[in-house]
């Protein structure tokens, strides 16, 4: 019975091909440092899942954001755990993605034929930082408010267009409800969508070229 179901599905989905192409791939002898990419992916998925739960209660308005987060911490069953994981996951993800970048750098895995994987990786690194930056404002507490104030000020110091960038980020000269709405939208829609898309391409390229081998004296 199960065999029949499997065969039926395989005929339509190509499960066997998937197995040979995705899982039963040959790889050079492994190395623990090579787990950092999949660890980044795992953290991205965790952030996605916990983040989705948080949006159930979170309200992106200056009047309610703080109280809604407070409610998640005190009123919702296991809300503190979900928020705690999301909070620490953000920190860990920045660290892990950064070390992943360092390991690719030190093993020179960005060289032919993996240059594009690296370029996309830089995009992923910048967007991960962008996720941290936009997410930090959302609880609308003192730390968040003032960190974003100084953070956007930095962007405002760009010659000529700084003023424009500052206003575009804040939605006006000062931090306001618009800023919060904007950061929220970037944090839950724009950046994750781009991240997910780029991670897809990143993974496609990794499977296409295979994991690079650890360089020896011959390389």
């Amino acid at each position: 019975m199960w065999k029949k179901v499997y065969e039926w599905l395989d005929e339509r989905l190509g499960l066997n091909d998937m197995y040979t192409n995705l899982l039963d791939r040959p790889e050079p002898t492994g190395n623990w440092w090579n787990t950092l990419g999949s660890a980044s992916l795992f953290l991205f998925v965790m952030q996605g899942l916990t983040g989705i739960f948080l949006t159930v209660y979170y309200t992106p308005s200056p009047d309610h954001a703080y109280d809604s987060v407070q409610y998640i911490m005190e009123g919702v069953a296991f809300g503190w755990l979900i928020r705690g994981i999301h909070h620490w996951g953000a920190t860990l993800m920045v660290i892990v993605v950064f070390i992943h970048m360092l390991r690719v750098f030190f093993t020179a895995s960005f060289k032919y034929p993996r240059e594009l994987t690296w370029l996309i990786g830089i995009g992923l690194l910048l967007m991960t930082l962008g996720m941290g930056f936009t997410g930090y404002l959302l609880p609308w507490n003192q730390r968040a408010f003032w960190a974003t104030t100084v953070g956007t000020q930095i962007a405002g110091s760009v010659p000529f267009v700084g003023e424009f960038i500052l206003k575009a980020l804040r939605g006006g000269p000062d931090l306001s409800a618009l800023t919060l709405q904007r950061f929220f939208s970037a944090h839950i829609w724009m950046l994750p969508a781009m991240l997910a898309g780029l991670i897809g391409v990143h993974l496609f390229l990794i499977i296409k070229h295979g994991e690079s081998h650890f360089p020896t004296k011959e390389d």
Binding site: E27, T35, Y66, G89, A144, S157, P159
Partner: protein
């Protein structure tokens, strides 16, 4: 890169694959172990460290020291160090935009800058050295981000040391490494030692900075997270700021005993008229902005008062839960633990919370109070125009004890003039509160709970009268 090199690279990779492993299950099990470890770590962090509470955002509170997320701290520290450079340091965008921009640009274009196919570290010593010094610098800048560049006493020592480790050593090392690589064609070993030397000296200088700089005492703002804490915090704030005019239960309709507002008619703020018609946010605005025309001053920082957004929120929560009959108040611990027979109260456990709730609203700096302040143990015992008579340990004629028992003190020079009126002016204290003050003063005003416990005299029980048969 020509086709020949590409072919060589691909052939080399093939041979590695042939002596390699399978993705499933050989590689993926390592991935799963690491991910599982991270998952466990996340749960531990969320459970045992959690997310530290913070007060609500308050745009008017410009005294708050802004700090970015920790992973941007190094940029801010770099900015501060860079700002010390004469002339160039004034052009902010060089440090905020140009330098990070060039760094990210170089990193992005790395595969097109470092085009040689060599991968072994010995053949890539220049880029690796540059990266190591960069990472060491970033880590050190992050760790020293708390240290100011100009110390409180105006000394620039810390700033100079930080510039040495964060700017001068790395720059010199970069110049040296590039010269060694392109001009002197130095050996790999020399370059490695240069990198190690630069990194170690950066670490030593930054370590000195950290050792010289005493850890700043971080002032933790109290954040009430549970409803009970918020109500209690709100009640304490209400007692300090509002009781004088509105009474401790919000029932005052005609203000008494307040300079400038004597006899003013007001709506009792614990009435349904107020509670049912004013929303939380309107209540917030009334407290923050006041009712200047009716004599109520602004309390919010935004309008020159002293209360933050969170503090006003706590007051609103207190008023709702304690007075609004549509809200059910949670169980709240009593202000002070009840006293057993013969037990002596202490300042820390009993008097301090009582004073905070019933007295400090007037007995603090800037109020009309015969200069009698009650915000600390020392103040209660030593301040005031009548300091020598206010509290006399063991004497029930202490002024304080008389006035809280509805016995005003008359001026000895003008017998028909009150020196001190009854306290609190609007509403007498409950008997159990008066009892705490009496026991405290009669037993020698102990400060800590331990001192008070030492005075605990268990009353000897009366010998039971044996009933004669």
């Amino acid at each position: 890169m020509n086709d020949e090199t590409k072919k060589k690279i691909n052939a080399r990779y093939e041979s590695e694959l042939n002596k390699g492993e399978r993705f499933w299950p050989d590689s993926i099990y390592k991935d799963l172990i690491v991910s599982l470890g991270i998952f466990v770590l996340l749960i531990l962090l969320a459970t045992f460290i959690g997310v530290s509470p913070e007060p609500k955002a308050d745009p008017s509170d410009t005294s708050y020291i802004p700090r970015p997320e920790w992973y941007f701290l190094f940029i801010f520290k770099f900015l501060a160090i860079y700002g010390q450079i004469p002339i160039l340091g004034k052009i902010e965008w060089i440090a905020t935009v140009a330098i990070p921009g060039v760094a990210v640009g170089l990193l992005t274009l790395l595969p097109f800058i470092e085009k040689r196919p060599d991968r072994h570290y010995v053949k890539r010593i220049l880029p690796i050295s540059i990266m190591i010094i960069m990472v060491v610098g970033i880590v050190l800048l992050t760790f020293t981000s708390e240290v100011p560049t100009v110390a409180a006493d105006g000394s620039k020592m810390l700033g100079i040391l930080q510039s040495i480790s964060g700017l001068i050593i790395p720059t010199l090392a970069y110049i040296a490494l590039i010269l060694m690589s392109y001009v002197f064609k130095s050996s790999t070993r020399t370059m490695i030692w240069t990198t190690v030397l630069a990194s170690v000296s950066m670490i030593i200088v930054s370590g000195t900075v950290l050792a010289l700089h005493p850890k700043p005492v971080v002032e933790e703002t109290e954040v009430a997270t549970t409803l009970v804490d918020q109500i209690t915090a709100g009640q304490d704030l209400y007692s300090i700021h509002c009781t004088e005019c509105h009474g401790d239960d919000g029932s005052v309709a005609i203000i008494e005993g307040v300079e400038g507002l004597e006899g003013e008619e007001i709506t009792p703020i614990n009435s349904k008229d107020v509670l049912y018609t004013i929303t939380d946010s309107a209540m917030y605005e009334v407290i923050a902005y006041g009712r200047p025309n009716a004599g109520m001053t602004p309390f919010g920082k935004a309008y020159g008062g002293e209360l933050s957004k969170s503090e006003i929120d706590y007051m609103t929560i207190f008023m709702r839960y304690m007075w609004d009959d549509r809200f059910e108040a949670p169980v709240i611990a009593p202000l002070f633990p009840a006293l057993a027979d013969g037990e002596v109260p202490s300042y820390d456990v009993h008097i301090a919370p009582i004073a905070k709730r019933y007295c400090i609203s007037c007995h603090r700096a800037g109020k009309e109070n015969n200069n009698y302040l009650m915000t600390s143990y020392e103040e209660i015992l030593t301040t005031g125009d009548n300091a020598e008579n206010n509290i006399i340990a063991g004497d029930e004629k202490s002024y304080l004890l008389q006035v809280i028992q509805e016995h005003a003190i008359m001026n000895p020079d003008k017998p028909d003039e009150e020196l001190i009126g009854v306290m609190p002016p609007s509403k007498a204290l409950k008997p159990n509160v008066v009892d705490v003050f009496v026991r405290w003063i009669m037993n020698g005003v102990p400060q800590t709970a331990d001192e008070a416990a030492a005075l605990f005299a268990v009353p000897t029980p009366e010998p039971a009268a044996t009933a004669a048969p």
